[in-house]
Symmetry: D2
Subunit: 142 residues, 4 copies
């Protein structure tokens, strides 16, 4: 389901304020109701000791994709924070680009259960590198 | 228990190869057998939309502290990878510096169970911002 | 993929030795390579304070379904133990029967990443009550 | 901090309504503000295939101890449900008695972060068999 223009704008504005995403070179690549994708190149400044993408990068875009998925099903004035998140790292983040697909498992007024799957794309071949499940909580902006 | 000089050297060499840690401005601030600390300033390039430290930063240094804690109790030739990690975000990462304290919960030949606690220090006052538990697996370097 | 007869026998023998499963009134209801299902009635002796199925029941059959899914992709002499498991409880376990569907996310020699989904069936309507992800480790029988 | 008599009564009444706890032979063995202990024998009807306590038993009393710890810091009319829980199984549940110690990590109006440690006692020697962290949510009784 396509996202309403004002919700799309809200998510894009929020994303633009995250300097960490800019450092990662990440971008919001797909927005729909309950489904958000974020992609990022595996930059030389974001690697671990073997030259693969760092778990902080994988976690960071996976967590953000899940958070924005939660935000996409909530009222326009809402904001969310991650309360907890578990990540299974399934394969090295090896390749050119990482793609995180966040989705809502169970919406709710007090908490939203989310999932994220992160893929590494190398020479056009996509491999799942992470599976995440977590809990997002709505917060009232001050 | 103090870490043997060759193990200390190994951890410092590995840490220096992680470009993500350099991007975070992070440093290995304490090394002992089964206990490793990593500290990092909350840089302007590592923030979320409200100006606090990004969860990717908190996760990144917490995960690394836990991983090096696991490495510190293993044979000199060993390497480890994070298999899974759960993070509870307890408070906003607000302040000047983040400090991650990783420790080994249960050592093992096939897997090492670890914990990490991350604190934000603001004007000398320390607040716990994250609690993490996870599984590290030894890998044979190629 | 159908399970080989000797593997089927092995799983059934192991299941029969779990007195907890007998107490739950649980049974192995489906066996295939990497996919195992366990069903159990919500007995009066397995409830929580509001008369719904207890989380211990939901966790117990979900964990076992995941463990047997892992076992189904391993050599005949192998045994597995749960190392860690996270459960999201999505809805009350309300109804007549619980059905746990375990599957292998990522097989491996040293550890197997698994998922389990648990459903409550009430008057023929199925509702997902839990989502679990975890880590199974092979053990050498003594 | 000792628990007020009406809160103590409330927890005992709730515990008594959980038929699963009676099946486990479990009892509330310690109650204080934010700290609750539950003990249970390892009954013959609650074992896994090697004759040790089943993970469902370990999870069940650990989860309940954490849930009652959360309830002990909330208003008298509150009730809680487990939203999610991660368990690390550190050693086989071998011995005569299991003891679960639940405590509140971070209280809150909308969610309470909790921890539980479960120990097996064999011939007077106590071994930690599980470490759990999770999220409890207040619910309004119908």
């Amino acid at each position: 389901m396509t996202l309403a223009p004002d919700l799309t704008q809200k998510l894009q504005d929020s994303f633009a304020k995250q300097s960490m995403m800019e450092t990662f070179g990440a971008s919001l690549s797909y927005l729909a109701h309950g489904n958000i994708e974020i992609s990022a190149p595996i930059l030389e400044i974001c690697q671990q000791q073997h030259g693969f993408g760092h778990a902080a990068l994988t976690f960071g875009i996976g967590d953000s994709a899940a958070g924005y998925a939660a935000l996409s099903v909530m009222p326009l004035e809402a904001e969310v924070l991650t309360s907890e998140m578990k990540i299974h790292l399934l394969a090295p983040a090896k390749g050119d680009i990482l793609l995180a697909k966040g989705r809502v498992i169970k919406p709710g007024r007090r908490l939203v259960i989310v999932e994220s799957q992160v893929f590494a794309v190398e020479n056009g071949v996509s491999t799942q590198v992470a599976l995440m499940t977590g809990t997002m909580v709505p917060v009232t902006p001050k």
